[in-house]
């Protein structure tokens, strides 16, 4: 059977993934709240983050998976079920996003 040769292109993967990802569930604003919280605390346990983000479990779960796949957040295993922290690029994002965030955040009283 003759197989059709498909040459690899330089940006096709980006375009197809971005079109799919735009319509994919990303957890709504929970993703941004996770980045925001991590930028202030450096690292947080999974259980603390669920409380801080104030999102439904499915939104939280979608957000976390999405942020991990995008390379912005990483999860380190520990005895309490995982610690969340920003990657280097996630930290750069948080720094730039802070231009949009108010200085006072009642959720972050313990910082």
């Amino acid at each position: 059977m003759e197989r059709k040769y498909t040459p690899s292109d330089d940006f096709g993967s980006f375009l197809s993934t971005v079109q799919r990802a735009v319509n994919q569930p990303q957890g709504g604003d929970a993703s941004m709240r996770i980045i925001h919280s991590l930028s202030r605390r450096k690292q947080t346990t999974m259980s603390q983050m669920v409380t801080l983000v104030k999102a439904s479990w499915s939104d939280f779960n979608d957000s976390l998976k999405y942020l991990q796949a995008a390379g912005l957040v990483q999860i380190q295993d520990d005895n309490e079920g995982g610690v969340l922290l920003l990657t280097d690029e996630g930290a750069h994002w948080a720094q730039t996003m802070s231009l949009d965030w108010p200085d006072d955040d009642p959720e972050d009283g313990d910082r």
């Binding site: 330089d10 940006f11 993967s13 980006f14 375009l15 993934t17 971005v18 990802a21 735009v22 994919q24 990303q26 604003d29 993703s31 941004m32 999405y66 942020l67 796949a69 995008a70 390379g71 912005l72 380190q76 295993d77 520990d78 005895n79 280097d88 690029e89 750069h92 994002w93 720094q95 730039t96 996003m97 231009l99 949009d100």
Partner: protein
């Protein structure tokens, strides 16, 4: 011979430079021109010179009888020997899930982390200034597909998984509720990390009015 000492030092410095370049692949020349990186290379150069001194004190000629060849063999041995010794660990200690190495490599790891932090801080300032200058006229809604695609087209060899990861970041920005300015800066920052400052600047310049927020001619694609 003085030349041998100099070559041993250069050997050590190149090994240190290699580690810095491996960590800052997007703009290696900028990273190498920072004081912490230069200090790290000097440290590696001194270690190689010290190793050569030790080799000569003990008279190790690595089995080479010709005195000139033996001298150069000692230089190579000093370069690789210092690299191996500085990166060696005697044993590992487990602390919960973490494994802590005990030995000279521990010290080198600490030095490398502090260099990385210092280089990161310095480059963060440079990146921030560069991104805001390059992206000042860019409209996020016009650029979020065209600009990355054009940059990747210029690069030609960006791996598919890197493209996919980048696409996920951009999709996150498209759906995020934040100002257009911050979205544009984040688009530029993420692209700069992948393709470097020069490629980003060239792409923005070449796309011109097609992604310019002040241009009335280009259509604005719906996200």
């Amino acid at each position: 011979m003085a030349l041998e000492w100099i070559v041993a030092g250069i050997f050590g410095a190149l090994i240190g430079a290699g580690e810095i370049v491996a960590q800052f692949r997007d703009e290696p020349d900028d990273a190498l021109m920072t004081f912490p990186a230069l200090g790290y290379m000097l440290f590696n150069a001194l270690a190689a010179v010290l190793a050569l001194a030790v080799i000569r004190v003990f008279g190790w000629n690595v089995g080479v009888q010709d005195p000139i060849l033996a001298g150069w063999a000692q230089v190579v041995l000093a370069g690789f020997g210092a690299m191996a010794l500085l990166r060696a660990s005697f044993f590992n200690v487990r602390d919960g899930e973490k494994i802590i190495t005990i030995g000279p490599s521990r010290f080198l790891d600490i030095v490398l982390v502090s260099v990385k932090d210092a280089v990161d801080r310095k480059r963060a300032e440079q990146r921030g200034i560069a991104v805001s200058q390059i992206m000042v006229q860019v409209d996020f809604n016009r650029a979020w597909q065209a600009l990355p695609a054009y940059c990747f087209g210029l690069l030609q060899n960006l791996p598919q998984d890197e493209q996919d990861k980048f696409a996920k970041k951009i999709a996150l920005l498209v759906n995020a509720s934040m100002s257009e300015r911050v979205k544009t800066l984040l688009l530029g920052l993420s692209l700069m990390n992948l393709v470097g400052e020069k490629v980003l600047a060239t792409a923005v310049k070449n796309l011109g009015d097609d992604i310019n927020r002040l241009s009335p001619t280009a259509p604005s694609p719906a996200p």
